[in-house]
Symmetry: C2
Subunit: 202 residues, 2 copies
Amino acid sequence: MATRKSTPDTSRRSERSRRAIYDAALALVAEVGYPKTTVEGIAARAGVGKQTIYRWWSSKADVLLEAFLDLTDQAAGQEPPALPDTGDLAADLKAVLRATVDELLDPRFEAPSRALAAEGVVNEEVGRQFVAALLEPQLQLYVDRLRAARSAGQVRPEVDPRIALELFVSPLAQRWLQRTGPISHAYTDTLVDYALYGLAPR
Amino acid sequence: MATRKSTPDTSRRSERSRRAIYDAALALVAEVGYPKTTVEGIAARAGVGKQTIYRWWSSKADVLLEAFLDLTDQAAGQEPPALPDTGDLAADLKAVLRATVDELLDPRFEAPSRALAAEGVVNEEVGRQFVAALLEPQLQLYVDRLRAARSAGQVRPEVDPRIALELFVSPLAQRWLQRTGPISHAYTDTLVDYALYGLAPR
């Protein structure tokens, strides 16, 4: 997780600076990529002194991590930190994956998310840090939902939820990351049906 | 596909140069990344003149594309351009995915493949070119195998093979690309079983 160096004061002025720094960090990484993004560049673009950034964060990785967490929080809105559980596993998974498709196609996400994902592919430290902070917590929500479904007898008892979720999450991730195919609600609905009921005849 | 500008002569000297250029291109992209890899840099490292490269290829993307195709061919050895079809779909898929795990863990592949994949995430032109030349032909082998299995009644008639293959290929790809988990033969075996038989009880 991000290491925030001191508790931020909550004055309006400091909140404005924080927001400006997040926006600058996301815009800059989208434009020039992770390696060329610097704390100095973020500060200049945000119109704050470099020391303002170092007061709150230790490194550009920390700033970017919080900026992404904030962006994800905004997109998630008031959603609770759990997947829906209506008792209909297929419907619940489809609803969440449709929302993820919309998020991936949102231009506010696209460029900074790609810049960060690309850096994670070649830079193991950055990759692991961002997966741990951003991706794995989302995947754990699927683990919880699949575990509940398993308890309800809707998932086979021997299935490992952490692997099972990859049958529908990873295809969407690969199509987005590597552009191996278009993404849509119909596509993710199909993934859920194939994963739950299998490719072999029943 | 790569646009080779002229038919290469087949003399031993030219074959040695070609091999040196492939090796230099793969080593350089692994070390400095795609953006900083140049035709000049490849030439210097291979000990050939820049003109030698431009005689055979139009751009660094073309050189790298052929270098990767050559690397893949070497790894594939004398394998035929089709997946095995023993009649046992699960066993055939597991065998191919185990070989892919071994390839992904091979250090000769790791660094150059990551450099190229990372560039493809942020650079749509490079991404599409390399997917079309390197990845999609491999995925089509799964399409063919799944189509044969469908004809044999081992895959449900309504299943689209191009989507179905993603249930086991994409999880492996995402774990490798984003380091979201370890990869092993046991892991890919599990993916095949989950995909074929589904998560829901039968």
